[in-house]
Point group: C2
C-alpha cells in the first residue's frame, strides 16, 4: 500500500466512526478535520467533496460489517445455524460494535432518504445485499429441506431486517441493550419454532 | 389565539414538515426561512435558538401523531381491536402520513442519540409514551381475559415498535410500501394468532 493509500484509509477509518455518530452529511468539515487530524487541503487531496467522503466512508463501514457477517457464517452449513448466526451477530451493538452510533446502514438510510440521492443509492445497494443474504440462506434452506417449504424468503428478509434495525435504534436511544436482547431472543425462537422443518 | 400565537403555530407546522425530512438539527436556518416564509429575526422572535425550534417542532409533530392514535382508538374496547388499530395506523406512512419523511420519532432518535442530549431526551419521552400505550393496552387485555396471561407487555411493546419503525425506514429508503405491508400483515396475524385468548 502506497503512503497515499495509507493516508486515505486512515481518513476513511476515522471519518466512518465520526460520520456514523454525527451524521454522514451533517458532520462539519471542522469535525472531520479534528477526527482525522488532517487539514482541509489534505482531506480534499483524497476526496472530491464532503459528499464523496461521506459515500466512501459509508462504503468502508459497510465493508467492515460485511466482514463480520462472513466470519459469523464461516463453517456453518445448516440454514437455521446460518440465520441464528446473522441474527445473534447484532449482539455486538450492545457495546462491541464495529462502529459507535448504531447501524451505519440505518443511519445513512434515515439521513439520506429525503436529502441525498447519491448516498441514498448507496444505502439501497447495501440494503439490497443484506436482504439478498437472508433470501439466499432461506431459499437454500428450503431447497435442502431445512426450512419449511411455505416460507417466503423475501417476506422473511423484510421481517428480520426491520426488527433488528428497529432494535438497534431503540437500544441506542435508551442506551439500554434490553430492546436488542428481546428482539434477538424472539427472532431466534421464531427461526427454531416457525421456520425450521 | 393571539396573532403571535398564530404565527408561532404556523412556523411550527411548516418547520415540522421540513425538519422531519431534512433533519431536526441539520436543517439550515436558510432552509427554515424558506419553508416558513419568515425572516431570521421573525423566527427568533418566537424561538430562543435553532435547537429550541427543533425541540418544539418535534413536540408538535408528536402531538399531531398522538391525535391520530386517539382517533384510531376511539370507540374500540377489546384489546385485540385496539392493538390492530394502532398497528394498521402505520398504513398512513404509505402516502397519507401526517409528516413527509418517515416517522418523526425514529428520525429524531437516530439524529439525536449521539449529538443532542436535549433532543434525545424529547425522543425518549415520546418513545416512553408510545411504549406505555402498548403496555397499557396489553396489560388491560390480560386482566380482562382478552390477551393470554403469559404475555409480557413490555417485551411485546418492544417487538411491535421495533418492527414498525424498521418498516417505515425500509419503505422510505426504497420508496416502496411493500415492506410496511409485510410487517403490518405479520403483526396483525401475530396478535390474532399468538396474543388473543
Amino acid at each position: 500500500m502506497s503512503k497515499g493509500e495509507q493516508t486515505r484509509k486512515r481518513i476513511l477509518e476515522r471519518a466512518a466512526q465520526l460520520l456514523n455518530q454525527r451524521g454522514f452529511l451533517s458532520s462539519s468539515v471542522s469535525e472531520i478535520m479534528e477526527a482525522t487530524g488532517m487539514q482541509k487541503g489534505g482531506i480534499y487531496n483524497h476526496f472530491k467533496s464532503k459528499e464523496d467522503l461521506a459515500v466512501q466512508a459509508f462504503d468502508y463501514a459497510v465493508e467492515r460489517i460485511a466482514e463480520k457477517y462472513r466470519a459469523a457464517l464461516e463453517g456453518k452449513e445448516h440454514a437455521v445455524d446460518r440465520l441464528v448466526a446473522v441474527i445473534t451477530l447484532f449482539e455486538v451493538y450492545e457495546g462491541d460494535a464495529p462502529f459507535a452510533g448504531g447501524c451505519p446502514l440505518m443511519n445513512c438510510a434515515i439521513e439520506s432518504d429525503d436529502t441525498s440521492p447519491v448516498l441514498r443509492a448507496r444505502a439501497r445497494q447495501a440494503m439490497d445485499q443484506w436482504r439478498d443474504m437472508f433470501v439466499r440462506i432461506i431459499a437454500k434452506g428450503i431447497s435442502r429441506g431445512e426450512i419449511r417449504p411455505h416460507v417466503h424468503p423475501d417476506t422473511e428478509a423484510t421481517l428480520f431486517i426491520t426488527s433488528l434495525e428497529g432494535a438497534v435504534m431503540m437500544s441506542n436511544l435508551y442506551k439500554d441493550p434490553v430492546h436488542l436482547r428481546r428482539v434477538i431472543a424472539r427472532l431466534v425462537d421464531y427461526v427454531n419454532g416457525e421456520l425450521k422443518t
